[in-house]
Symmetry: C2
Protein backbone atom coordinates (compact mmCIF):
# COMPACT_ATOMS: atom_id res chain seq x y z
CA UNK A 1 0.00 0.00 0.00
CA UNK A 2 1.08 3.57 -0.63
CA UNK A 3 0.03 6.56 1.45
CA UNK A 4 0.21 10.00 -0.13
CA UNK A 5 1.14 12.27 2.76
CA UNK A 6 2.55 15.49 4.13
CA UNK A 7 4.23 15.58 7.57
CA UNK A 8 2.27 18.65 8.63
CA UNK A 9 -1.23 17.21 7.97
CA UNK A 10 -3.14 16.26 11.12
CA UNK A 11 -5.27 13.88 9.03
CA UNK A 12 -2.15 12.06 7.88
CA UNK A 13 -0.93 11.90 11.47
CA UNK A 14 -4.14 10.15 12.52
CA UNK A 15 -3.64 7.45 9.88
CA UNK A 16 0.03 7.10 10.77
CA UNK A 17 -0.68 6.60 14.48
CA UNK A 18 -3.45 4.11 13.64
CA UNK A 19 -1.16 2.16 11.29
CA UNK A 20 1.58 1.96 13.94
CA UNK A 21 -0.82 0.90 16.69
CA UNK A 22 -2.40 -1.72 14.40
CA UNK A 23 1.02 -3.17 13.47
CA UNK A 24 0.61 -2.29 9.80
CA UNK A 25 3.10 0.54 9.38
CA UNK A 26 5.70 -1.65 7.63
CA UNK A 27 3.21 -2.51 4.88
CA UNK A 28 2.78 1.15 3.92
CA UNK A 29 5.08 3.11 1.62
CA UNK A 30 4.91 6.84 2.27
CA UNK A 31 4.91 9.14 -0.78
CA UNK A 32 5.18 12.87 0.00
CA UNK A 33 3.27 15.62 -1.75
CA UNK A 34 2.30 19.24 -1.06
CA UNK A 35 -1.17 20.73 -1.22
CA UNK A 36 -2.27 24.30 -0.58
CA UNK A 37 -5.53 26.12 -1.37
CA UNK A 38 -5.47 27.98 -4.65
CA UNK A 39 -2.38 26.14 -5.87
CA UNK A 40 -2.53 23.38 -8.47
CA UNK A 41 -1.14 19.88 -7.92
CA UNK A 42 -2.11 18.12 -11.13
CA UNK A 43 -0.47 14.81 -10.28
CA UNK A 44 -2.37 14.49 -7.02
CA UNK A 45 -5.61 15.83 -8.53
CA UNK A 46 -5.53 12.82 -10.88
CA UNK A 47 -5.60 10.57 -7.80
CA UNK A 48 -8.24 12.66 -6.00
CA UNK A 49 -9.93 15.78 -7.38
CA UNK A 50 -10.30 16.97 -3.76
CA UNK A 51 -6.50 17.19 -3.30
CA UNK A 52 -7.05 16.39 0.37
CA UNK A 53 -4.48 14.42 2.33
CA UNK A 54 -4.02 11.55 2.85
CA UNK A 55 -5.00 9.04 0.14
CA UNK A 56 -4.24 5.33 0.41
CA UNK A 57 -3.48 3.48 -2.83
CA UNK A 58 -4.04 -0.26 -2.50
CA UNK A 59 -1.93 -2.83 -4.32
CA UNK A 60 -4.81 -3.45 -6.78
CA UNK A 61 -4.85 0.27 -7.62
CA UNK A 62 -8.01 1.14 -5.70
CA UNK A 63 -7.76 4.51 -3.95
CA UNK A 64 -9.23 4.93 -0.46
CA UNK A 65 -10.12 8.52 0.41
CA UNK A 66 -10.67 10.20 3.73
CA UNK A 67 -8.50 9.63 6.78
CA UNK A 68 -11.34 8.01 8.70
CA UNK A 69 -12.20 5.55 5.95
CA UNK A 70 -8.50 4.69 5.67
CA UNK A 71 -8.31 4.11 9.43
CA UNK A 72 -11.40 1.91 9.21
CA UNK A 73 -9.86 -0.05 6.34
CA UNK A 74 -6.64 -0.59 8.29
CA UNK A 75 -8.63 -1.62 11.36
CA UNK A 76 -10.41 -4.28 9.30
CA UNK A 77 -7.08 -5.40 7.81
CA UNK A 78 -5.78 -5.87 11.36
CA UNK A 79 -8.71 -8.12 12.25
CA UNK A 80 -11.45 -5.59 13.00
CA UNK A 81 -12.75 -4.01 16.18
CA UNK A 82 -9.33 -2.75 17.31
CA UNK A 83 -9.69 1.05 17.19
CA UNK A 84 -13.39 1.19 16.28
CA UNK A 85 -15.83 -1.05 18.16
CA UNK A 86 -17.21 -3.73 15.83
CA UNK A 87 -20.83 -3.45 17.00
CA UNK A 88 -23.25 -2.07 19.54
CA UNK A 89 -24.03 1.44 20.80
CA UNK A 90 -20.36 2.25 21.49
CA UNK A 91 -19.64 1.72 17.80
CA UNK A 92 -21.94 4.63 16.94
CA UNK A 93 -20.78 6.77 19.85
CA UNK A 94 -17.17 6.35 18.70
CA UNK A 95 -18.09 7.14 15.10
CA UNK A 96 -20.07 10.22 16.16
CA UNK A 97 -17.25 11.44 18.42
CA UNK A 98 -14.81 10.93 15.59
CA UNK A 99 -17.08 12.95 13.27
CA UNK A 100 -16.99 15.78 15.80
CA UNK A 101 -13.18 15.65 15.96
CA UNK A 102 -12.95 15.51 12.17
CA UNK A 103 -15.14 18.60 11.94
CA UNK A 104 -13.02 20.34 14.58
CA UNK A 105 -9.91 19.69 12.48
CA UNK A 106 -11.70 20.91 9.34
CA UNK A 107 -12.58 24.13 11.18
CA UNK A 108 -9.02 24.55 12.46
CA UNK A 109 -7.68 24.19 8.92
CA UNK A 110 -10.20 26.81 7.74
CA UNK A 111 -8.88 29.11 10.50
CA UNK A 112 -5.31 28.47 9.40
CA UNK A 113 -6.18 29.24 5.75
CA UNK A 114 -8.07 32.37 6.77
CA UNK A 115 -5.21 33.74 8.87
CA UNK A 116 -2.09 32.59 7.05
CA UNK A 117 -2.93 31.69 3.46
CA UNK A 118 -5.72 34.04 2.32
CA UNK A 119 -4.26 37.33 1.01
CA UNK A 120 -3.99 40.17 3.52
CA UNK A 121 -7.06 42.38 3.60
CA UNK A 122 -9.50 39.61 2.61
CA UNK A 123 -9.91 38.11 6.09
CA UNK A 124 -13.39 37.83 7.59
CA UNK A 125 -13.18 37.89 11.38
CA UNK A 126 -16.67 36.48 12.02
CA UNK A 127 -15.81 33.39 9.93
CA UNK A 128 -12.55 32.91 11.79
CA UNK A 129 -14.20 33.33 15.21
CA UNK A 130 -17.04 30.98 14.31
CA UNK A 131 -14.74 28.19 13.14
CA UNK A 132 -12.30 28.60 16.01
CA UNK A 133 -15.23 28.47 18.41
CA UNK A 134 -16.38 25.16 16.95
CA UNK A 135 -12.96 23.62 17.66
CA UNK A 136 -12.70 25.27 21.07
CA UNK A 137 -16.18 24.16 22.20
CA UNK A 138 -15.43 20.68 20.89
CA UNK A 139 -12.33 20.57 23.12
CA UNK A 140 -14.50 21.65 26.06
CA UNK A 141 -16.79 18.73 25.41
CA UNK A 142 -14.01 16.12 25.48
CA UNK A 143 -12.41 17.82 28.50
CA UNK A 144 -15.70 17.19 30.30
CA UNK A 145 -15.79 13.47 29.39
CA UNK A 146 -12.76 12.00 31.21
CA UNK A 147 -13.95 8.40 30.69
CA UNK A 148 -13.33 8.82 26.95
CA UNK A 149 -9.77 9.97 27.69
CA UNK A 150 -8.77 6.99 29.85
CA UNK A 151 -10.36 3.95 28.21
CA UNK A 152 -8.28 1.64 25.97
CA UNK A 153 -6.89 3.32 22.87
CA UNK A 154 -9.40 4.02 20.11
CA UNK A 155 -9.83 6.25 17.06
CA UNK A 156 -11.41 8.99 19.20
CA UNK A 157 -8.27 9.31 21.34
CA UNK A 158 -6.05 9.21 18.25
CA UNK A 159 -8.06 11.94 16.52
CA UNK A 160 -8.13 14.01 19.71
CA UNK A 161 -4.35 13.90 20.08
CA UNK A 162 -4.11 15.07 16.45
CA UNK A 163 -6.45 18.01 17.22
CA UNK A 164 -4.31 19.01 20.21
CA UNK A 165 -1.05 18.56 18.31
CA UNK A 166 -2.40 20.72 15.50
CA UNK A 167 -3.42 23.37 18.05
CA UNK A 168 0.20 23.43 19.29
CA UNK A 169 1.50 23.49 15.71
CA UNK A 170 -0.63 26.29 14.25
CA UNK A 171 -2.28 28.05 17.22
CA UNK A 172 0.51 27.88 19.79
CA UNK A 173 -0.89 30.73 21.88
CA UNK A 174 -4.48 29.49 22.14
CA UNK A 175 -4.01 28.27 25.70
CA UNK A 176 -5.82 24.93 25.47
CA UNK A 177 -3.68 23.36 28.25
CA UNK A 178 -4.73 25.97 30.78
CA UNK A 179 -8.38 25.96 29.69
CA UNK A 180 -8.67 22.17 29.52
CA UNK A 181 -6.57 20.44 32.21
CA UNK A 182 -8.08 17.00 31.54
CA UNK A 183 -6.98 17.27 27.91
CA UNK A 184 -3.52 18.36 29.06
CA UNK A 185 -3.14 15.24 31.24
CA UNK A 186 -4.52 13.07 28.41
CA UNK A 187 -2.04 14.59 25.94
CA UNK A 188 0.88 13.92 28.30
CA UNK A 189 -0.20 10.29 28.71
CA UNK A 190 -0.59 9.86 24.96
CA UNK A 191 2.92 11.21 24.39
CA UNK A 192 4.33 8.17 26.18
CA UNK A 193 3.27 6.18 23.11
CA UNK A 194 5.97 5.94 20.47
CA UNK A 195 3.34 6.30 17.71
CA UNK A 196 2.19 9.65 19.07
CA UNK A 197 5.68 10.94 19.83
CA UNK A 198 7.32 10.21 16.48
CA UNK A 199 4.37 11.64 14.55
CA UNK A 200 4.43 15.09 16.20
CA UNK A 201 4.17 17.83 13.56
CA UNK A 202 7.44 19.47 12.46
CA UNK A 203 8.46 22.79 14.01
CA UNK A 204 6.00 25.44 12.78
CA UNK B 1 -35.43 9.32 16.45
CA UNK B 2 -35.20 13.02 15.75
CA UNK B 3 -33.34 14.58 12.83
CA UNK B 4 -32.26 18.21 13.13
CA UNK B 5 -32.54 19.50 9.59
CA UNK B 6 -32.89 22.35 7.12
CA UNK B 7 -34.65 21.81 3.76
CA UNK B 8 -31.84 23.49 1.83
CA UNK B 9 -29.01 21.30 3.16
CA UNK B 10 -27.73 18.71 0.64
CA UNK B 11 -26.38 16.64 3.55
CA UNK B 12 -29.86 16.48 5.07
CA UNK B 13 -31.27 15.52 1.69
CA UNK B 14 -28.91 12.54 1.50
CA UNK B 15 -30.13 11.25 4.86
CA UNK B 16 -33.73 11.87 3.93
CA UNK B 17 -33.48 9.93 0.67
CA UNK B 18 -31.64 7.10 2.46
CA UNK B 19 -34.31 6.96 5.20
CA UNK B 20 -37.12 6.79 2.62
CA UNK B 21 -35.37 4.11 0.55
CA UNK B 22 -34.63 2.06 3.70
CA UNK B 23 -38.28 2.26 4.83
CA UNK B 24 -37.37 4.15 8.02
CA UNK B 25 -38.75 7.60 7.29
CA UNK B 26 -41.82 7.14 9.52
CA UNK B 27 -39.59 6.51 12.54
CA UNK B 28 -37.91 9.92 12.22
CA UNK B 29 -39.28 13.19 13.55
CA UNK B 30 -37.90 16.19 11.67
CA UNK B 31 -36.91 19.25 13.74
CA UNK B 32 -35.99 22.34 11.72
CA UNK B 33 -33.15 24.73 12.52
CA UNK B 34 -31.08 27.33 10.71
CA UNK B 35 -27.30 27.54 10.55
CA UNK B 36 -25.11 30.10 8.81
CA UNK B 37 -21.39 30.85 9.11
CA UNK B 38 -20.62 33.64 11.54
CA UNK B 39 -24.07 33.47 13.13
CA UNK B 40 -24.70 31.89 16.54
CA UNK B 41 -27.21 29.10 17.12
CA UNK B 42 -26.70 28.33 20.80
CA UNK B 43 -29.40 25.68 21.03
CA UNK B 44 -27.93 23.66 18.20
CA UNK B 45 -24.34 24.26 19.36
CA UNK B 46 -25.28 22.44 22.57
CA UNK B 47 -26.15 19.41 20.45
CA UNK B 48 -23.08 19.73 18.23
CA UNK B 49 -20.37 22.39 18.56
CA UNK B 50 -19.83 22.05 14.79
CA UNK B 51 -23.35 23.35 14.06
CA UNK B 52 -23.33 21.22 10.91
CA UNK B 53 -26.52 19.66 9.59
CA UNK B 54 -27.96 17.13 10.07
CA UNK B 55 -27.70 15.52 13.52
CA UNK B 56 -29.68 12.43 14.51
CA UNK B 57 -30.81 12.17 18.13
CA UNK B 58 -31.55 8.59 19.13
CA UNK B 59 -34.30 7.66 21.57
CA UNK B 60 -31.64 7.01 24.27
CA UNK B 61 -30.30 10.55 23.79
CA UNK B 62 -27.15 9.59 21.88
CA UNK B 63 -26.37 12.02 19.07
CA UNK B 64 -25.07 10.72 15.76
CA UNK B 65 -23.09 13.25 13.77
CA UNK B 66 -22.21 13.40 10.11
CA UNK B 67 -24.64 12.60 7.33
CA UNK B 68 -22.62 9.57 6.24
CA UNK B 69 -22.47 8.06 9.73
CA UNK B 70 -26.22 8.64 10.06
CA UNK B 71 -26.82 6.90 6.73
CA UNK B 72 -24.63 4.01 7.86
CA UNK B 73 -26.57 3.79 11.13
CA UNK B 74 -29.90 3.74 9.29
CA UNK B 75 -28.55 1.12 6.89
CA UNK B 76 -27.64 -1.11 9.84
CA UNK B 77 -31.04 -0.47 11.43
CA UNK B 78 -32.65 -1.66 8.18
CA UNK B 79 -30.72 -4.92 8.27
CA UNK B 80 -27.33 -3.87 6.87
CA UNK B 81 -25.76 -4.02 3.43
CA UNK B 82 -28.63 -2.15 1.76
CA UNK B 83 -27.02 1.11 0.59
CA UNK B 84 -23.44 0.30 1.61
CA UNK B 85 -22.02 -3.13 0.77
CA UNK B 86 -21.46 -5.14 3.95
CA UNK B 87 -18.05 -6.51 2.98
CA UNK B 88 -15.46 -6.99 0.25
CA UNK B 89 -13.61 -4.59 -2.06
CA UNK B 90 -16.83 -2.88 -3.23
CA UNK B 91 -17.47 -1.86 0.39
CA UNK B 92 -14.27 0.21 0.33
CA UNK B 93 -14.84 1.49 -3.20
CA UNK B 94 -18.30 2.73 -2.20
CA UNK B 95 -16.95 4.34 0.97
CA UNK B 96 -14.13 6.03 -0.96
CA UNK B 97 -16.52 7.26 -3.66
CA UNK B 98 -18.81 8.60 -1.00
CA UNK B 99 -15.86 10.43 0.63
CA UNK B 100 -15.16 12.06 -2.73
CA UNK B 101 -18.78 13.17 -3.06
CA UNK B 102 -18.80 14.43 0.52
CA UNK B 103 -15.69 16.49 -0.19
CA UNK B 104 -17.27 17.81 -3.39
CA UNK B 105 -20.29 19.00 -1.39
CA UNK B 106 -18.01 20.55 1.24
CA UNK B 107 -16.21 22.44 -1.54
CA UNK B 108 -19.50 23.57 -3.10
CA UNK B 109 -20.65 24.93 0.26
CA UNK B 110 -17.35 26.78 0.63
CA UNK B 111 -17.98 28.29 -2.84
CA UNK B 112 -21.47 29.30 -1.80
CA UNK B 113 -20.20 30.94 1.40
CA UNK B 114 -17.42 32.70 -0.50
CA UNK B 115 -19.78 34.14 -3.12
CA UNK B 116 -22.98 34.80 -1.22
CA UNK B 117 -22.29 34.97 2.52
CA UNK B 118 -18.80 36.49 2.94
CA UNK B 119 -18.98 40.30 2.95
CA UNK B 120 -18.42 42.03 -0.40
CA UNK B 121 -14.80 42.90 -1.03
CA UNK B 122 -13.37 40.01 0.99
CA UNK B 123 -13.70 37.37 -1.74
CA UNK B 124 -10.63 35.43 -2.82
CA UNK B 125 -11.05 34.25 -6.39
CA UNK B 126 -8.28 31.63 -6.30
CA UNK B 127 -9.99 29.91 -3.33
CA UNK B 128 -13.33 29.95 -5.14
CA UNK B 129 -11.83 28.61 -8.36
CA UNK B 130 -9.91 25.89 -6.54
CA UNK B 131 -12.94 24.62 -4.63
CA UNK B 132 -15.27 24.81 -7.60
CA UNK B 133 -12.72 22.90 -9.64
CA UNK B 134 -12.66 20.11 -7.07
CA UNK B 135 -16.42 19.66 -7.40
CA UNK B 136 -16.32 20.02 -11.18
CA UNK B 137 -13.50 17.49 -11.66
CA UNK B 138 -15.26 15.15 -9.29
CA UNK B 139 -18.36 15.32 -11.50
CA UNK B 140 -16.14 14.52 -14.50
CA UNK B 141 -14.92 11.41 -12.74
CA UNK B 142 -18.42 10.04 -12.10
CA UNK B 143 -19.54 11.03 -15.61
CA UNK B 144 -16.76 8.75 -16.88
CA UNK B 145 -17.85 5.74 -14.76
CA UNK B 146 -21.32 4.87 -16.12
CA UNK B 147 -21.38 1.50 -14.33
CA UNK B 148 -21.60 3.35 -11.01
CA UNK B 149 -24.60 5.28 -12.33
CA UNK B 150 -26.66 2.28 -13.38
CA UNK B 151 -26.09 -0.37 -10.71
CA UNK B 152 -28.67 -0.93 -7.92
CA UNK B 153 -29.24 2.09 -5.69
CA UNK B 154 -26.47 2.81 -3.19
CA UNK B 155 -25.15 5.65 -1.08
CA UNK B 156 -22.88 6.81 -3.92
CA UNK B 157 -25.85 7.39 -6.23
CA UNK B 158 -27.77 9.11 -3.44
CA UNK B 159 -24.85 11.43 -2.63
CA UNK B 160 -24.30 12.13 -6.32
CA UNK B 161 -27.92 13.17 -6.86
CA UNK B 162 -27.53 15.52 -3.89
CA UNK B 163 -24.40 17.05 -5.47
CA UNK B 164 -26.26 17.62 -8.75
CA UNK B 165 -29.36 18.97 -7.00
CA UNK B 166 -27.19 21.37 -5.03
CA UNK B 167 -25.50 22.49 -8.26
CA UNK B 168 -28.96 23.31 -9.67
CA UNK B 169 -29.96 25.04 -6.43
CA UNK B 170 -26.93 27.28 -5.88
CA UNK B 171 -24.96 27.26 -9.16
CA UNK B 172 -27.78 27.16 -11.69
CA UNK B 173 -25.62 28.49 -14.55
CA UNK B 174 -22.69 26.10 -14.13
CA UNK B 175 -23.75 23.96 -17.10
CA UNK B 176 -23.18 20.49 -15.63
CA UNK B 177 -25.87 18.90 -17.82
CA UNK B 178 -24.14 19.95 -21.03
CA UNK B 179 -20.66 19.11 -19.77
CA UNK B 180 -21.66 15.72 -18.30
CA UNK B 181 -24.37 14.00 -20.35
CA UNK B 182 -24.06 10.72 -18.43
CA UNK B 183 -24.79 12.56 -15.19
CA UNK B 184 -27.74 14.28 -16.86
CA UNK B 185 -29.27 10.94 -17.85
CA UNK B 186 -28.53 9.54 -14.38
CA UNK B 187 -30.22 12.54 -12.73
CA UNK B 188 -33.32 12.12 -14.89
CA UNK B 189 -33.54 8.43 -13.98
CA UNK B 190 -33.10 9.21 -10.28
CA UNK B 191 -35.92 11.77 -10.43
CA UNK B 192 -38.37 8.96 -11.17
CA UNK B 193 -37.85 7.91 -7.53
CA UNK B 194 -40.31 9.51 -5.15
CA UNK B 195 -37.54 9.90 -2.50
CA UNK B 196 -35.43 11.98 -4.87
CA UNK B 197 -38.32 14.01 -6.24
CA UNK B 198 -39.91 15.07 -2.96
CA UNK B 199 -36.54 16.01 -1.45
CA UNK B 200 -35.55 18.48 -4.18
CA UNK B 201 -34.22 21.71 -2.62
CA UNK B 202 -36.69 24.61 -2.36
CA UNK B 203 -36.61 27.33 -5.01
CA UNK B 204 -33.33 29.28 -4.61
Amino acid sequence: MKLIFSPSSPFVRKVRIAAIELGLIDRIEFLPTTVAPGQPNDDYARITPLKKLPALILDNGDVILDSYVIAEYLDELAGGGKLIPASGPTRWQVKADHSLLQGMLDSMLLCRYEKAVRPQGLQWQAWLDDHWNRAWQGMARFNGQPEKLSRPLDIVQIALVCVLGYADFRFADCGWRKAYPNLDAFHERMLTRQSVKISLPPAA
